[in-house]
């Protein structure tokens, strides 16, 4: 058996300095390999989701709205133009969350793969960042696909419509990072999924100025928009794609809130990963 004769030993083979530099990328590589096993499934969802929304809400409901509102439109534009940045951001948020929450629960609880990663030179922080980078990868390509479908449906009137792509991705990964930290802290995930789906994701989707301007909601419900990454991304997206009126200071606020979410999410997640693995 060659195995028993050609041993060089880890002291010659292992390059710890390189792992310290690129560890997160190795983790992301492994995550993306696992993700690609579901490649067609992810593609199918990424295409079917916008197609269904665009047909039902965009074209169906939008047609009705456009007919009744007349040339003034919603926010001065056609309903689909108004809706597009929000749908894109929503898709980004959903995908980023799926790709941070599930692998994190799997890594700590279901298969415990994080523990075997951590028995190599990889640190908890690198594992956390690697999971996040893989989620970023998925978010980018789903948003691009979603955008393509919208274009095929003729939902993109504005020549600057593509500017909603970065804002959507930004919102997705900000929320994803935060949810990754939450998932890393979880001991019991069953209640979490019920709460997350029914009391967080659904209200955020409905009350973040997605289908109508936030300001047309009763004042006491508007706070939901303020804590929602979806609203901030949508406002930025509308501002960039068709010149939706937003003051400079509000642009800064939207941008800052998403940035804070991202940074806090990443820092917390790295810290929680490190602590939980060291128990």
């Amino acid at each position: 058996m060659t195995f028993l004769t050609s041993r060089q030993g880890s002291s010659k083979l292992v390059n710890t300095a390189q792992v310290q530099m690129r560890g997160a990328l190795y983790v992301a590589e492994a995550r993306i390999r696992a993700m690609l096993k579901w490649f067609w499934m992810i593609i199918a969802i990424a295409v079917a989701n916008p197609a269904l929304y665009l047909i039902s809400v965009g074209i169906g409901l939008g047609g009705l709205i456009d007919k009744n509102v007349g040339s003034a439109g919603i926010d001065g534009v056609k309903y689909l133009t108004f809706l597009a940045p929000a749908l894109l951001a929503q898709a980004a948020i959903q995908n980023a969350m799926d790709e941070t929450v599930f692998p994190t629960l799997e890594g700590f609880k279901w298969y415990k793969v994080f523990y075997s990663m951590n028995s190599t030179p990889l640190s908890g922080g690198q594992i956390s960042l690697g999971v996040f980078l893989a989620a970023l990868f998925r978010t980018v390509y789903t948003v691009l696909l979603y955008f393509l479908v919208m274009w095929l449906f003729g939902a993109l009137e504005s020549p600057k419509a593509w500017l909603a792509i970065p804002t959507a991705i930004f919102a997705g990964v900000s929320f994803g990072a935060l949810m990754q930290a939450v998932a890393a802290k979880l001991e019991n995930e069953n209640i979490f999924f019920t709460v997350l789906g029914r009391f967080i994701m659904m209200p955020l989707f409905l009350f973040s100025g997605t289908f109508f301007p936030l300001t047309s909601m009763p004042f006491f419900l508007q706070w939901i928009g303020w804590i929602s990454p979806l609203w901030h991304a949508t406002e930025l997206g509308r501002f960039l794609t068709y010149g939706h009126e937003v003051s400079a200071s509000m642009v800064l606020v939207h941008f800052s809130i998403l940035t804070v979410m991202l940074v806090v999410g990443l820092v917390l997640s790295a810290r929680i990963f490190t602590r939980r693995l060291a128990k």
Binding site: R33, K37, Y115
Partner: protein, 308 residues
């Protein structure tokens, strides 16, 4: 002169009020096969995780490959191969992919890992399963894959936490054979087990642990010599009579242990002892003379059996 790879003094780990490891001392030499024997909850796995430079101690000192795991975790882990109690393989990936990504975690060049995978597949007898998803493997195959995975970086120390728990006898023997080959190759092994036959087969030297403490230390043979007699006579009188007879048996030999279903009698000559029992007109339902094992050592040290 032998080289010291692991050295622990007063090693302590607590979880809240519970003391999992209670100030233990031990050393592991290069090329040695070192065992931690004890029942579930003895503190073996916790000790392993501290040696594995993932879990941090609460007090005491430990050096692994001359380094402190609190400061040099990644530098130590770079030279360890860890086989955890739970396989923790990536279920979504194939056998080959699992080996590949693990090799990458050590920063090994792609080309090296690809070559290494072929050796490891043959070592773990998994060539035919190379492209199978891990989910579909049997327990024994997963275990062999986990061991193969731990070897991808050619570690200085291979650490195995309960390597054969949950495996059928045949799978265990295949695994023991593989571990024996590694030992011959000079790889330092650190093994935890609650199977005394496994400890006897694989370990040059071991510590017997119970409730976070080290009860005894030595080679399997010397532990048996120090803490037990040469032979053991096991007699069964039926659960209702065992108690009544036990008092009479106690005076016949060095020591007895009364278990729920049988009585163990310690003597250097089991056959002679059995004759003595018959001549005293006590007729056991069954009797068995055997050599002392580590199980007897553990019973002597703790008053309990290893597997409860």
């Amino acid at each position: 002169m032998s080289e010291l790879l692991i050295s622990a003094r007063g090693l302590t780990k607590k979880f809240g009020d519970f003391v999992a490891v209670n100030g233990i001392d031990f050393d592991v030499q290069k090329g040695e096969s070192f065992g931690l024997l004890g029942p579930n909850g003895a503190g073996k796995s916790t000790t392993m995780r501290i040696i594995g430079a993932t879990s941090q101690r609460d007090s005491g000192t430990i050096t692994i490959l001359g380094k402190d795991p609190e400061k040099n975790g990644p530098q130590i882990r770079a030279h360890l191969g860890v086989v955890p109690q739970q396989d923790s393989l990536d279920m979504h990936l194939t056998v080959v992919e699992n080996l590949y990504i693990y090799g990458r975690y050590f920063g090994l060049p792609r080309k090296f890992v690809k070559g290494k995978i072929e050796e490891l597949l043959s070592f773990a007898q998994l060539e035919e399963k190379r492209d199978a998803k891990v989910e579909t493997l049997s327990g024994g195959m997963k275990r062999r894959l986990t061991i193969a995975r731990a070897l991808v970086s050619e570690p200085e120390i291979l650490m195995l936490d309960e390597p054969t728990t949950g495996l059928d006898p045949q799978a265990r023997h295949i695994l023991w054979d593989r571990l024996f080959r590694l030992k011959e190759q000079g790889v330092t092994l650190v093994i935890t087990t609650h199977f005394m036959d496994e400890a006897e087969q694989l370990c040059d030297r071991l510590i017997v642990m119970d409730k976070g403490n080290i009860m005894a230390e030595g080679s399997p043979a010397s532990l048996i010599k120090d803490y037990s007699t040469k032979e053991v006579l096991e007699v069964r009188f039926g659960s209702d009579r065992n108690q009544e007879v036990a008092n009479k048996l106690r005076s016949m030999c060095e020591r007895t242990e009364e278990l729920p279903d049988r009585i163990l009698m310690y003597s250097d000559d089991g056959e002679a002892l059995l004759e003595q029992i018959y001549s005293a007109e006590l007729h056991p339902k069954t009797s068995l003379v055997r050599r002392s094992s580590l199980e007897d050592v553990f019973l002597r040290l703790t008053g309990r059996t290893l597997i409860e």
